[in-house]
């Protein structure tokens, strides 16, 4: 026989049962699913029939339970499994991760002050706010904070590199721009670059898009990068070398630099070898300045250098062996795709045919280029669009773009460039010729004269593979002085012969580790994937950094890598109001002649407003601001759910009450009609610690109502809803009417009832007092409908006064609904406990008369609202009874 008892539910009933047993000398485990004990009573303002302050009565009990040597509180915990038999029960309890080490937390609340994530407070019935790190109410026991963290936000899961978008967006919403940038740099160094040119898969998946439009995540990222440039950046502090082994990176594109960045932060010495005179790869030599200005690339690159990454420019690497000879222990190859694809059509060698990468490189290096008046660009991707827009800026009169793909952006054969860049290019004057393939180049005197094309009927096959098909048909010929070929790139064919490559010249690697066929050599980015995008390259660099670290430390490169992030399941959109996404202001069309940036960036106000559109999908954004201010060092983001096994002799179930969803009772308009609230909301509004500091105000106009109506039995005593009487609402309505009067003397209350259930001691006198001293009128009749006076938002109650038989409409300023209450026990929990419930969902007693507090399973007892509709005095009485039964069961078995 085990001498301890498990109590489930830390409401008044659970607390009382625990204290009784503890005082008898039994060991008690009190399991509560929310972060604090107290239950519903903690939410109440006053309690009938004495009108005592609920918290004043409850708090001492909570404290006693917390400090009692025989009681072990397990808050934020739930029972997962129960086995064994009466007397010897094994219980498995899940302690949900609170992400705060409660043995350290002092309850100082500094964390909550800085937390940028705010949401509706359940404790305040969604009328007030709380932070992601919180205690439910000031007097909470234990007085320890909990982080509400629910997996990962869709944006972060969608980002290949796992950039914490919710984190920085949340901080921007609070005007914390510097901190937001920090969050980005925790994952990667390219805030300025990615804020401009990222293909933003995060926005595709942004949950806000399910509601109206996605948050402008990329533009927000750009905003914080620009902000830093504007206010001036302090030089980054070099990272200390803590790890053995130098790493060489070949290529200073985004893949190489992202890899270098992660490794330097891990404490390795890193050197980047770059063939060209400046670092950045295609960021510098590919993407034109009107999209990505040089100073932005400079800023992101110098930040990496300041951390200690050495970049050797003008240093082409020819031989990997030589690098190893210099003492480097691992190599990351991020050489990109340097060679343009050929067209393989007649006259391709003619003068006037140029290739996209060479063309862009020259343009980006400021070399003067003469293209002539007419230019034809071949290709339908972003590179082709960039070439075309550069050609327009270099002064060509007519720029054509010829591509195999369709201009219909919904088709499977659509152009690969992004919607917005196509639109902008067309606005700037680009003429697009879709669904055409180049056939041959016509020349005059060995110089390009025009391009002959043929009709392309289909680009990709069923499997989505590139397999163009052409039709016989009219030949379109486009006159051109210059033809720019932008049909793709591949890695340079000449270098690193020893590395295994595909027929397309791309390097073959292990898909998880990015390891090549040569010991110590890793590769990633375009050199592996073929031409892709910046964020993919960054991701590859980061993955390689993980492998290299593991390689150098001699641990398995595959097993135990960080897991992919799990997406949060459900995101509440309750109360979200539609608000359009802010669009990016752009340079006027007429001014887009030089290489000035087209997108102008958000100003501070726009950025903050846009960031406020974020739904904070995962609640805690992992911005780590709380960690910074917690002097006790209590925050632990890595915390996991914990399971404890308890051995007990008996169980008392006291899981209390839930509130019945009354929104389907449309006749009362709850949730639709303003100034119709529930009784629990009323309690929070009059409570001094509530969201309005005890001011009972109407939501529609903030006025204090002088005329209040209470409607009883809403969802109770109703065949369509809950057939039973909830038993406490007649009395709490009377109490609330009195409270309204106390708050605002003179307030007139009217209670619409069917029968006043005043069955407790002195309850009848209580009602008499309400009538006599508190201006409360009782009208017998169940209202049929609430309508609205649209002039003043007053609800109008249609009812029959059944005592006189008159139908009346009653206009009032506030309606309080006596929402039905339901036993708070799920079928799952009943199954875990192995107990039966009655048809209304309350705990079933084997014998209502003689064993009312027993359940259908021996050794398990019940008390409080989950047992039957009960007020506080009755719940406490039952609790003592259940404690007695449990003690008897244990002692009896001794």
């Amino acid at each position: 026989m085990n001498n301890s008892v498990l109590v489930i539910g830390g409401g008044i009933a659970g607390i009382q049962a625990s204290l009784d047993l503890a005082n008898m000398g039994f060991k008690v485990y009190l399991v509560e699913k929310s972060p604090s004990i107290g239950g519903r009573m903690a939410q109440l303002d006053k309690t009938f029939p004495t009108n005592d302050c609920a918290m004043c009565i409850l708090a001492p009990k909570m404290i006693e339970a917390n400090s009692h040597p025989n009681i072990e509180l397990l808050t934020y915990s739930e029972v997962e499994k129960v086995s064994g038999e009466a007397g010897k029960v094994k219980v498995k309890v899940k302690k949900k991760a609170s992400f705060v080490d409660w043995s350290k937390c002092t309850g100082c609340s500094e964390c909550a002050k800085v937390c940028p994530v705010e949401l509706n407070s359940e404790f305040d019935e969604n009328l007030g706010k709380r932070k992601a790190i919180y205690i439910p109410f000031p007097q909470a026991i234990p007085n320890k904070y909990t982080i509400d963290k629910r997996s990962y936000p869709p944006c972060r899961v969608a980002c290949p590199a796992g950039v914490n978008a919710q984190g920085y967006v949340a901080l921007i919403s609070q005007g914390k721009f510097k901190e937001a940038l920090e969050v980005i740099r925790r994952t990667m160094p390219f805030a300025g670059v990615c804020g401009r040119v990222c293909t933003h898969p995060c926005e595709q998946d942004c949950e806000r898009g399910q509601f109206d439009e996605p948050v402008a995540i990329r533009n927000l990222k750009r905003f914080v990068a620009d902000y830093e440039l504007r206010v001036g950046r302090e030089k980054a502090v070099p990272v200390e070398r803590t790890k053995e082994g130098k790493v060489a990176i070949i290529g200073s594109g985004p893949a190489g630099l992202a890899c270098a960045y992660d490794l330097i932060k891990e404490g390795y010495a890193v050197t980047v070898f770059e063939a060209l005179p400046q670092a950045g790869g295609l960021l510098r030599y590919g993407i034109p300045e009107y999209r990505l200005p040089k100073e932005i690339v400079d800023n992101d690159v110098s930040y990496i250098q300041e951390l200690g990454v050495e970049i050797k420019i003008n240093t082409p690497v020819k031989d990997l062996g030589e690098i190893f000879n210099q003492g480097y222990k691992a190599i990351f190859l991020g050489a990109g795709c340097q060679e343009s694809m050929k067209l393989d059509i007649p006259n391709e060698e003619a003068k006037g045919v140029v290739y996209a990468l060479d063309f862009l490189k020259r343009a980006n290096s400021g070399v003067k280029i003469d293209l002539g008046n007419q230019v034809a660009v071949i290709g339908g991707g972003s590179v082709a669009i960039d070439c075309a827009r550069v050609a327009l800026r270099l002064g060509s009169k007519r720029v054509h773009l010829v591509c195999l793909e369709s201009r219909d952006l919904t088709s499977k054969d659509r152009m690969l460039a992004q919607d917005l860049e196509i639109k902008e290019a067309e606005e700037e004057g680009l003429i697009i010729h879709p669904s055409l393939g180049p056939k041959r180049i016509l020349t005059e005197n060995g110089k390009v004269a025009s391009l002959e094309t043929r009709v392309c009927t289909s680009v990709r096959d069923e499997q989505g593979k590139f397999a163009p098909r052409f039709a016989e048909g009219p030949v379109t010929t486009i006159e051109a002085d210059t033809i720019i070929v932008a049909t793709g790139q591949k890695p340079s064919t000449v270098v690193f012969k020893e590395i295994e490559k595909s027929p397309m010249q791309t390097i073959k690697v292990d898909p998880i580790t990015l390891y090549t066929n040569i010991d110590g050599v890793f590769a990633g980015g375009d050199v592996v994937s073929g031409p892709a995008d910046v964020i993919a390259a960054i991701t590859a660099g980061k993955e390689a950094a993980i492998s290299i670290d593991r390689y150098l430390r001699g641990i398995n490169m595959k097993e135990g890598r960080p897991e992919t992030l799990k997406r949060v399941k459900e995101v509440s959109k309750a109360g979200v109001r539609p608000k359009a996404r802010h669009s990016m202001p752009t340079l006027e069309l007429g001014k887009r002649k030089g290489f000035d940036e087209v997108d102008l960036g958000f100003d501070e106000k726009t950025a903050v407003e846009e960031a406020q559109r974020c739904l904070n999908c995962a609640v805690c954004s992992e911005c780590r601001e709380c960690e910074k201010v917690c002097e006790a060092n209590a925050i632990d983001y890595e915390m996991q759910d914990e399971y404890v096994e308890l051995n007990v002799g008996a169980i008392i179930l006291a899981s209390g009450l839930g509130l019945y969803d009354i929104s389907p009772l449309t006749e009362y308009g709850y949730g639709k009609i303003k100034n119709v609230i529930t009784a629990m909301e009323f309690e929070r509004l009059t409570a001094a610690s509530g969201p309005t500091m005890g001011e009972l105000k109407r939501s529609s106009d903030g006025r204090i109502p002088e005329n209040i109506a209470f409607i009883q039995c809403v969802g109770s005593r109703d065949f369509r809803n809950k057939i039973y009487c909830s038993s406490v609402c007649c009395m709490h309505a009377t109490k609330e009417a009195m409270l309204a009067f106390e708050h605002h003397p003179g307030t007139k209350s009217t209670i619409f009832y069917m029968d006043m259930r005043a069955v407790g001691k002195r309850f009848q006198e209580y009602i008499a007092r309400a009538k006599k001293e508190y201006n409360v009128t009782y009208i017998r009749g169940r209202p049929g409908r609430i309508e609205v006076n649209h002039e003043n938002d007053n609800p109008i109650i249609w009812h029959e006064e059944t005592t006189s038989g008159e139908i009346k409409s009653f206009e009032t300023e506030l309606v309080v609904l006596a929402q039905a209450m339901v036993p708070q026990i799920t079928k799952d929990l009943a199954k875990i406990l192995g107990i039966e419930l009655d048809e209304d969902g309350f705990v079933k007693a084997p014998d209502k008369l003689l064993q009312p507090l027993d359940t259908t399973r021996q050794g398990i007892f019940a008390c409080g609202y989950v047992h039957s509709p009960r007020d506080i005095p009755d719940s406490v009485t039952q609790a003592s009874g259940a404690a007695g039964r449990a003690a008897e069961a244990i002692a009896g078995g001794k």
């Binding site: 006749e667 369509r720 009749g781 409908r785």
Partner: protein, 387 residues
Amino acid sequence: MNLEDIIKETKTYYCLECGKCTSLCPVSRYNSNFSPRFMLERALMGFGDELIHDRELFSCLACYACSNLCPSDVDYPVFTQKVRNLASGEGEHGDCAHSGILFSLMRLMSRSDIRQKRLDWLDGCHTSEKSEVLYFAGCAPYFEPVFEDIEVSPVNIARNSIKVLNALGIEPMVLPNERCCGHDLLWTGDVETFKKLAQFNAQMIKESGAKKIVFSCPEGYRTFKIDYPQYVELDCELMHITELLAQNLSSLSFRAKRSNPEVKRVTYHDPCRLGRHLGIYEPPREIIRAIPEIKLTEMEHSGDESICCGTSAWTNCSSYSKQIRVERLHEAKATGAEALVTACPKCQIHFKCAMVDKGTEKCTNIEMKVMDIVTLVADALGDKSSE
């Protein structure tokens, strides 16, 4: 069936006397002498006699606004229906509108030897002698001359119904000797005559070989679906035309130009029999939304909160009925709609009557097009035969 049985059958025992019914009743709102709660209370308290001889017994519209939300699930309309039967046994009856002509017609139809000439309206419609589908025309041909003066043409609804069925490729049967469904007799207490009509209809339909009956009148539909099974056997699938149309929307091709292009915004009035009696709220709305260039705007009370047109079974039509209608028309007008669309010929008759009979001041200024949903659909489909 005596009062005791009625109380049992309609769950009146459970009544809490809460008055929710009365506060929802459109009649009680204007007629302070009528209260469903009070009717029930008298039955429960043993004042059956008083109840049976109360003139207000015939005031209920059987609109189900009350029972739809009754916390005790009491079926007040059926309670009324059965008590009226008791009352009629004692010579009580309601006040009959239209000089009783409509009731005379119903009773005439209950004779076996009558020869009706009820199919003159079929021109332009494709029907067949033998089909699995039967269109139940009901009393439309008889209503036609009675309501000519207020410009309601129930026959037009019948004709349009068949045209719409034709558009779906259905050429239904229409029976030449069909009888009134008996709805009004049943609800005014004349169960005997009702039974006769039901038997005639059941017999004829069985002989016709129909497998499915389509109604455009919600009363006929309700009567066949809920009341007939208690008196006669009939093994057919029953459907309201809006259900059939909603299921087959994709096979209808609406014309770009309708014959009544001035109607752009409409509002829909749920007939009580179709709505609260049978729970059909969505199909008519789906149909309206599918018609090009028509916008549906809901009234303040719609769906299961819809308000009755004010009279049922041509009985106790009074100034209260009028007030109910005028209120409803004001609600319709407030939506900004050009037309009030409904799916019941009687609703249309009652609304139009309220606009023609300019009795009270409030209604003199209401002008509103009232039309049946099948007419709206037929207009949007275009009349193939006239093209």
